[in-house]
């Protein structure tokens, strides 16, 4: 088979020049700060609050998606209902819709004078310009990951096992929690981890609805942006490196999860 050195050489060069060397450059820059300099930047209350919001918000959004994403995937695979094909096609909207568009659309809906924001405000619930808005935007952006990872696994799930459980007298609830849930768990965790990873780094859809109040509703990527605009390269680099290191750890976890899935054959 021809072309090995050509294609591999090109791939490695392109990957190195555009991704690996720039990322290594970032880590190198922050290494230049030294451990104390690095810690000095990260331990500032505003930085800690931003990191906590990005990771905490993404975790909350991933948890919401775990519940509703499973429910949606289940309805798609097991039931027929009018409008299903439209909704199935629309699930990928958060992938296809530019994040800035999603951001201003969500803000228009949930702002205190918006379609849903106004009735919610009457009930005393504020979502926009509040940390809850951050979670809302991250939920939007992460939704397809859980649904798309679960759908094929649910489709392939062996119904005979469910039938056997039912024949042996298990209630439907018991079958769902003891047979189906364990079978789809690795896929569910993978989908949730992917949604979480996406939420952590998310910028465009969040900044419009968040209100961006320092220490309250300011996400870490926005703080990097602000530091850059202040020409505080060291600050921007340190926050970015911290995010990068945590994200790579996550990526490793996702890969291990997928290896686990392959071993279990789901």
């Amino acid at each position: 088979m021809p072309g090995f050195s050509l294609t591999l050489g090109f791939s490695l060069t392109y990957l190195s020049l555009l991704v690996l060397i720039p990322l290594a450059g970032l880590l190198l820059r922050s290494a230049g700060l030294g451990l104390t300099g690095f810690w000095h930047v990260l331990s500032a209350p505003r930085v800690l609050a931003a990191l906590r919001l990005s990771f905490g918000g993404a975790l909350a959004a991933a948890a919401i998606n775990a519940v509703f994403g499973s429910l949606v995937a289940w309805s798609f695979v097991r039931y027929r209902f009018p409008g299903k094909q439209l909704l199935q096609a629309m699930v990928d909207l958060p992938f296809a819709l530019p994040t800035a568009v999603a951001g201003i659309a969500l803000t228009a809906i949930y702002a205190p004078n918006g379609w849903l924001g106004a009735p919610l405000a009457k009930l005393g619930i504020q979502l926009a310009y509040h940390p809850a808005g951050v979670v809302l935007a991250m939920t939007f952006i992460g939704l397809p990951f859980v649904v798309r990872t679960l759908e094929p696994v649910l489709e392939e799930a062996e119904k005979q096992l469910e039938e056997a459980a039912a024949t042996l007298g298990a209630t439907r609830w018991r079958t769902v929690t003891r047979i189906i849930l364990p079978a789809i768990l690795p896929a569910l965790l993978t989908g949730v981890a992917l949604a979480f990873a996406r939420g952590v780094g998310e910028y465009g859809s969040v900044i419009f609805i968040a209100g961006n109040i320092p220490n309250v509703s300011e996400i870490a990527p926005l703080l990097i942006m602000i530091r850059l605009e202040e020409f505080d390269y060291a600050g921007a680099t340190a926050v970015a490196s911290a995010m990068l290191i945590i994200s790579f750890t996550l990526l490793l976890a996702i890969n291990l999860l997928q290896a686990w899935r392959r071993r279990r054959g789901t």
Binding site: M1, P2, G3, F4, L6, T7, L8, S11, L18, V19, P22, G25, L26, L71, V72, S75, R78, Y79, R80, F81, G83, Q85, L86, A89, M90, V91, L93, P94, A96, L97, P98, T99, A100, V101, A102, I104, A105, I109, L116, F140, L143, P152, E162, E163, A166, T175, A197, G201, E202, Y203, G204, P221, I224, M225, Y233, A240, S247, F248, L250, L251
Partner: protein, 295 residues
């Protein structure tokens, strides 16, 4: 896209008829109701909001907003960026998939992981890394400005940042597809005397064309819609370095809501077309894409 419910796509399983493993009617209705409500609020409502806001000042205001010269220059820059970034990443995706799927070598799994890396990097960081290299205080910044090259706060930086965030799209669609297809057909062609390139054009490419198109489609949607990474390197010079998503942000922050949503509505249409074509590909060529699903 909205076909009658009785039209079965290859992915929709047969109707559940077995009462023993079904749920009671009330539970079923509750689950379906929650699904429709959740997706309606989370997906359909934002889309409806974009068009409602864009047209809230009337059709005339909508088209006036789109005819604005700054809006036009942002459309041109977005098209130019996608026209550079998508072919580059497509060439990379095909080359990487060829090397990974057709050959055995050490470190293959690591290479696949590294290709996926940009997906787990925040877009803002994707922009930042190029500032650190080509910015005024970057490693190559002084060299670039000495040679009259403008990279940051100019179109090349925007293309670089876009390439970074859309890097894995084509490769990750093609790698599992080409791995599943194996090397038999290529070997047959080579045995019959075909050269490497003609084997690729006449044997491999027809086999992967739908997967390739699928990857290009997603890559293009992201390239045209990227916001965070581009925002870092663009410098926001009106009429010069604003892509469509950046134009949306600027108009929105200027309280020109009708204009912001008008430009946004074009991007929403792009998303709509992307989803439509994607569904069409899955429906018509689902079997050929089968290896891709689940990844």
């Amino acid at each position: 896209m909205d076909e009658p419910a009785d039209m079965q796509t290859p992915f929709v399983p047969l109707v559940q008829t077995n009462a023993a493993i079904g749920e009671p009617r009330a539970v079923r209705l509750l689950l379906i109701g929650t699904t429709v409500l959740f997706l309606g609020v989370f997906l359909l409502l934002p889309l409806a909001a974009v068009f409602a806001q864009a047209l809230s000042g009337g059709v005339r205001a909508y088209f006036a907003a789109l005819a604005d010269p700054d809006a036009w220059s942002s459309i041109k820059l977005t098209l130019l960026t996608a026209a550079m970034a998508v072919p580059l990443n497509t060439a990379f995706g095909v080359a990487a998939a060829w090397a990974i799927a057709k050959f055995r070598f050490r470190g293959k799994e690591l290479l696949i992981t590294l290709i996926d890396l940009p997906f787990s990097v925040s877009p803002v960081i994707a922009g930042l890394v190029y500032i650190l290299i080509f910015g005024a205080r970057g490693w190559l910044g002084p060299w670039a400005s000495a040679h009259g090259l403008r990279i940051i706060f100019a179109a090349p930086g925007i293309v670089l940042a876009t390439v970074f965030v859309t890097f894995p799209f084509v490769a990750r669609q093609l790698i599992p597809l080409m791995q599943a297809q194996g090397t038999d057909e290529e070997y047959a062609a080579l045995t019959l005397g075909a050269r490497g390139w003609s084997t690729f054009w006449h044997v491999t490419l027809p086999n992967i064309r739908w997967g390739l198109l699928y990857g290009v489609l997603l890559c293009n949607a992201r390239a045209m819609g990227e916001f965070g990474a581009v925002s870092v390197v663009s410098g926001h010079i009106r009429g010069q370095t604003n892509t469509m998503p950046l134009q949306v942000e600027i108009l929105y922050n200027d309280y020109q809501f009708v204009a912001a949503f008008a430009v946004a509505s074009l991007l929403a249409l792009l998303a709509f077309v992307t989803l439509g074509l994607k569904s069409l590909l899955e429906w018509r060529h689902g079997n050929e894409l089968a290896a891709v699903r689940g990844h």
